[in-house]
Structures are given as structure tokens and as C-alpha cells.
């Protein structure tokens, strides 16, 4: 395997990973505040179409990203009003948001089908961005760097800032947080909006970066992978990053094996049926979850108030 091939493969893996990393990071913050939003798939699709539409109208991909974040956040607000104001069941409402987002994005997207926008690719000069070696560092869309910066930023926010501490307190014990004067509902609105915006940007990665076009249901289930990723990561940002890249690697491995990538150099690996590679992400999820839970509550601690409605006693 040449270094060029390894670098090109890393670029592919990063492309597979970035959208689920973005959406997973948003959902992690939402869940840390004690809200389970299963509507990631719908919010990603809303982000994908809003980002595409904003780019198509303004010819400015940066405004497209803002449009995607707004589309995701706005659709998450529907969910927020229902679960925070009306105390509806979070699981059912989240599923409804997924279905709603899929349908609404298809409706909005009807007039954009068959159109293309310029790809939101690397902003570095082609000498670096298209060089077979240097593209390892410079060959990505700004959204890739954004996702990578957001990981430590989110970790720092949750761990080391006062606002992050409040958010975690709301997620762990909403009544205590309420009793010392914090607005549980307000914090959760903000966390849901952040989750929606990140899912929207993740969705825009599909419609603006990988394949700069709009197609109905183009996220093809990545929202559900992002949701699984948060559990897989045990609600920890560092592990989310590792998990996202691990999933991305396994998705790439399936395609690599199917394309006879092991070929004659590694015939023992090529002899494994491709269905095995296709099943790998799921097998590894089961293995990881088993390992985590066998270590007791140390590794995976879901926020104590996750999924429960907040009903102040007075």
C-alpha cells in the first residue's frame, strides 16, 4: 500500500465520519441536559435541505452553513416546545420529529431536485488541497476542521465552564438545579437548539460537501448512527470522537473489502465473506456496550434525568 493510497483512504474515512461526529456531538450536549431527542435524522435532513437552499440562493456556502444550522435548530424547537412546555413523551416526540423532518425536507426540496451548487470544499490553494500528500492536512471542507475543533471545545465547555456545570446539573438532577434557582427549561431549550444546529450542519455535509446536490432522504439513516454513537461513547466527548472515527473506519473497511482491496496480497482476509465486514459496525457496538456495562457504572453513565419530563412540584 502506497502512502498516497493510505492518505486517500484517510480522506474517505474522514468524509464518512464528519457528519456523524457533528450530529453526535450535538446530541451528546442535548442528552447531557437530560433530554433524549431521537429526531436527529429529521434534523439532519432539514439541515441538508436548508443548507442547500441557502447556498443555492446566496451562492455563499458560509451562509449555507448558517442556513443549515438554523434549519436544524428551528426544527428542534418544535420538539422542544412539545417536550418542555407540554411535557409530551420524549421518545415518541423525537420519533415524530424524525418522520416530520424527513417529510418536510422532501417537500421543501421538491423545487431543488436536479440542481447542484458548487462544492463547499477545501479553502486552501489547490497546490496543497489536491496534492496527494498535503491533502491529508489541507484537503478538507472547513466543516471537517469545525467538527474537530468543536470536540475539545464541547469537552471544555461541559467540564470547565460554569454554564457547562449548570447544564450537567440540570441533566443529573433537575429538581436540585431548579431549587437553587436555575431555569431547567431555559437550559434545556438551549441544549436542544445546539443539538439541532449541529445535526443541521452534519446534514449539510451531505448536501454541500460530499455530493453537492439535494436528494430526498439523502442522509440514508446516518442520524440513527449518530444517536447510537452517543450511547456507544458513554456520553463522553473524547470517546465520541474515537467512536465516530472507529465507525467511519469500519464503514470504509466494508467498501475496501468488497472492492477486492485485500486482493492477492492478503487472500486470507479477502476470503472472509463481505457480509462479515458489513456487519462489523454492529458487532463492534454490541462488543463495546458489553465491555462498558460489564465494568459497572464507571464507563457509561447516562445523565440521571435523561428522557424524564421536568415537573416542578410547585
Amino acid at each position: 500500500m502506497s502512502p498516497e493510497f493510505i492518505i486517500a483512504s484517510i480522506v474517505t474515512i474522514i468524509g464518512l465520519t464528519t457528519p456523524i461526529l457533528l450530529a453526535g456531538l450535538g446530541e451528546l450536549v442535548t442528552e447531557k441536559s437530560g433530554v433524549l431527542n431521537l429526531g436527529v435524522e429529521g434534523m439532519m435532513l432539514m439541515g441538508a435541505i436548508c443548507g442547500f437552499a441557502a447556498t443555492a440562493f446566496t451562492f455563499n456556502p458560509w451562509l449555507g452553513v448558517i442556513g443549515a444550522a438554523a434549519g436544524g435548530a428551528l426544527s428542534s424547537m418544535l420538539f422542544a416546545i412539545l417536550v418542555l412546555q407540554l411535557n409530551s413523551n420524549q421518545v415518541a416526540t423525537g420519533l415524530a420529529l424524525s418522520i416530520f423532518g424527513t417529510g418536510l425536507s422532501s417537500l421543501i426540496g421538491q423545487s431543488f431536485t436536479g440542481r447542484i451548487v458548487p462544492q463547499f470544499g477545501s479553502i486552501f490553494p489547490d497546490v496543497l488541497a489536491k496534492d496527494p500528500i498535503w491533502k491529508l492536512l489541507f484537503g478538507y471542507s472547513p466543516l471537517v476542521y469545525f467538527a474537530l475543533i468543536m470536540v475539545p471545545l464541547t469537552a471544555w465547555f461541559l467540564k470547565s465552564t460554569r454554564a457547562g456545570l449548570i447544564l450537567r446539573a440540570v441533566g443529573e438532577n433537575d429538581h436540585s438545579a431548579h431549587s437553587i434557582g436555575y431555569s431547567v427549561t431555559g437550559v434545556r431549550y438551549a441544549a436542544i437548539a445546539f443539538g439541532g444546529a449541529m445535526a443541521g450542519i452534519g446534514g449539510a455535509y451531505f448536501s454541500m460537501v460530499i455530493t453537492p446536490m439535494w436528494a430526498e432522504r439523502m442522509t440514508a439513516g446516518r442520524g440513527w448512527i449518530a444517536l447510537a454513537l452517543v450511547v456507544f461513547a458513554g456520553w463522553r466527548t473524547g470517546r465520541l470522537l474515537a467512536g465516530a472515527y472507529f465507525f467511519g473506519f469500519l464503514m470504509w473497511l466494508e467498501l475496501f473489502a468488497k472492492a477486492n482491496g485485500f486482493g492477492n496480497t492478503m487472500p486470507f482476509l479477502q476470503a472472509i465473506p463481505s457480509q462479515f465486514w458489513a456487519a462489523m459496525p454492529y458487532i463492534m457496538t454490541v462488543v463495546a456496550l458489553t465491555l462498558i456495562s460489564s465494568r459497572g457504572n464507571v464507563g457509561a453513565s447516562a445523565p440521571a434525568c435523561l428522557g424524564k419530563p421536568f415537573l416542578p412540584s410547585t
Partner: protein, 360 residues
């Protein structure tokens, strides 16, 4: 209103046979309903988009006599059964199920509704009220393979497919055989992604094929995503199901266009006339159901001539890519020199030709 009538009738009569009788009488003055089951979204700009064009052709030609309805995004598993059944219960007299993966589900529902006619696309199981129809896409693939074999510098071609079903296997084989006629050393790397429509996975699979040395990638999945990747990399590919040049003006060499309209209109007309019978139709370039989209100016004139020769051969009925000798991946001779594979063999084919590299 219809539903209400039917419900109250069901309570009163309580017998399904009588119900359908009354139902027919009540609808005698109405238009005949024709239903479509679609695999993907009609906006996929590929397979389903082309089928929907065919449905619109029925509306245009027979809009005063028939009414068409459709369901998009139907999964190719047992969940298709209630969707097909629902169309029959809504009063559809003719139902087109437009993907191979709906085969057994169509037969199941057809047995429950002997008065409803069914048309299953690309399958091989029929009944008195179930026809099959197909298009010889592999004729188009032979044209694409000819162009790819001639234009590829590396001799390594990529083929992005969905599932190992006869339609895809035929496409891969026709493409590989045609490419090898131009470049005997040509190999085809095959990736089957287990989906007809998954733009991110199609894109990643295309990138992987390119990384492994393919300089031309053809797609047998339904989105224009792979072509956009090829456009970004400055490589070439082909459209599937429809002309996709709008998505990749430079990379799009040509495309196989599926033209279903004439067949759909003919079958709808036969239903209206009461002359519909179960049949197995397998049209191709000769009948105009498979059409090659305009060529990209980047294709050299001699390659265009070669491609046109194959096209003309198919239209005249003098050419067949599946003429022996044909060897399988292990080098076993499957078709003897001079023999031509029969339709029955083609419809159930499950082996790849020599030079196709695929996972086990």
C-alpha cells in the same frame, strides 16, 4: 367517501366477494385506478424517476380513462406486502411493482386478489394475473463497457452496484465483456453496497474504487452522487436510469436512459380494453426502452463510432454481448464459442465473468 361506503357495506354484507362486486359496480362510471410501487423517491433522478416518467406517460395518454396513484420509498422486504395490498384494496385494477426485490411480495398479494392485474419489473415469477417485464439494460451496459474499455488508461474499471440480483449481474458481465473486447487485460472491480439509494455510501464506495486505481466508474445504484465524486476528481463515469449530465457535466460520458412510457401506456390500454393477459416482456434497444443519452464531447470520434456500432447491432438484432466463449471468474467455460445465452439463462444468472474482481 368511498371508504365510508365500503365500510358500511362490509358491515352489512360481511363477505369480501360480494364487497368487491358491489365495489366494481359503484365505480363503473369512475376512472380505472392503476397503482405503482416505487423503490426510491421519485426525485432520485435515476431508476424511480424514470418509472415515474412512465407513469406520467399513462396520465398523458389515457388521463380521461385511468387514474394513477403511487407509493414511494417502499422497502424490499415483507413490509412491501401490506403496501401492495393497500393499493389493491384502494381499488387499483393494475399494479406495477417496479423492483426485483418485490417479486415474492407481488405474487403473495396477487394470489389474494385474482381480479387485480399485477406487473412485476425485472423478476421471473409469473401467474395468471402477474406479468413480468424487463428492459435489456445490459445492452446499454455493453455500449458503456465499450467506451470505458477504450478510454480507460489504467485498464482498471470500477462498477458500483446494489445487490447481487440478475439485473446487476447481467450489467456487470455485459460491461466487463464489452470492455475486454477493447482491452483484453481490462478488469472490473465490483462493489455491491446493499442499497439502491444511499448517496453518502455511494460516494464513499466511488472514492474507494478510485483509490484502488479505477479511472472510470460506472454506477448501478440510483443517485447521481458517484458522478459528482468523479467530477471532483476529474475522472469519468456514466449515468444510471436517466441522463445525469446536469450533476456532472464533465465527468458524465453518457447514460443509460430507461424509457418505460410506451410499455406502461400499452399495458394500461390493454387493461381498459379488457385484453390484458399475463406475459413476459423483455424489451431493449430495439424496442426503444433502453436509450443511450447524448455522448460527452470528450469521447473521441473513433470510440463514438465503436459505441454506435454496438447500438446499431442491437437495434438491428444482429449483435449480442453474451455470445460465447464466456468464462466465469474461476476460468470455467460457461458458454461455448458461437453459442448465445438464452433469455431464460440471462434472467436467472448468478455468476460473474472472468476479469470481475469482487468480494467473496
Amino acid at each position: 367517501m368511498t371508504t365510508l361506503n365500503r365500510r358500511s357495506l362490509m358491515k352489512a354484507v360481511g363477505a369480501a366477494a360480494t364487497l368487491s362486486l358491489v365495489g366494481t359496480t359503484a365505480h363503473a362510471a369512475d376512472k380505472v385506478k392503476i397503482g405503482f410501487i416505487f423503490l426510491g423517491p421519485i426525485g432520485d433522478y435515476g431508476w424511480t424517476w424514470a418509472h415515474n416518467k412512465g407513469r406520467e406517460a399513462i396520465d398523458a395518454a389515457l388521463g380521461d380513462k385511468v387514474e394513477t396513484i403511487y407509493v414511494e420509498n417502499v422497502l424490499e422486504d415483507a413490509s412491501a406486502i401490506p403496501v401492495i395490498r393497500d393499493l389493491a384494496q384502494q381499488g387499483c385494477k393494475l399494479i406495477f411493482t417496479t423492483s426485483y426485490g418485490f417479486m415474492d411480495q407481488t405474487l403473495t398479494v396477487a394470489a389474494e386478489f385474482p381480479d387485480v392485474k399485477f406487473e412485476h419489473c425485472t423478476g421471473f415469477k409469473r401467474a395468471d394475473n402477474v406479468s413480468t417485464y424487463n428492459s435489456k439494460f445490459h445492452e446499454g451496459r455493453a455500449v458503456l463497457g465499450t467506451i470505458a474499455g477504450k478510454m480507460s488508461k489504467s485498464g482498471t474499471l470500477g462498477y458500483l452496484g446494489s445487490y447481487k440480483v440478475p439485473e446487476v449481474v447481467l450489467g456487470v458481465n455485459a460491461f466487463a465483456l464489452a470492455a475486454q473486447k477493447q482491452n483484453p487485460a481490462a478488469t472490473v472491480k465490483l462493489v455491491l453496497i446493499d442499497s439502491w439509494f444511499d448517496p453518502p455510501k455511494e460516494a464513499a464506495a466511488t472514492e474507494t474504487l478510485i483509490n484502488l486505481g479505477c479511472d472510470i466508474v460506472t454506477t448501478h445504484t440510483d443517485s447521481p452522487g458517484p458522478l459528482q465524486i468523479l467530477e471532483q476528481k476529474g475522472l469519468y463515469g456514466f449515468g444510471q436510469g436517466a441522463d445525469m449530465s446536469a450533476f456532472a457535466p464533465t465527468a458524465h460520458l453518457t447514460a443509460i436512459e430507461d424509457i418505460w412510457g410506451p410499455y406502461y401506456v400499452a399495458r394500461a390500454q390493454a387493461l381498459v380494453d379488457g385484453t390484458w393477459t399475463s406475459a413476459d416482456t423483455w424489451d431493449g434497444m430495439k424496442e426503444g426502452t433502453v436509450v443511450i443519452a447524448p455522448y460527452n464531447p470528450a469521447i473521441p470520434a473513433d470510440v463514438v463510432a465503436l459505441a454506435d456500432e454496438i447500438k446499431a447491432g442491437y437495434v438491428a438484432g444482429t449483435y449480442d454481448i453474451f455470445t460465447g466463449p464466456i468464462f466465469d471468474q474461476d476460468g470455467v467455460e460457461k458458454v461455448k464459442a458461437g453459442e448465445v445465452m438464452g433469455l431464460e439463462q440471462l434472467a436467472t444468472i448468478d455468476w460473474f465473468v472472468k476479469g470481475v474482481e469482487s468480494a467473496s
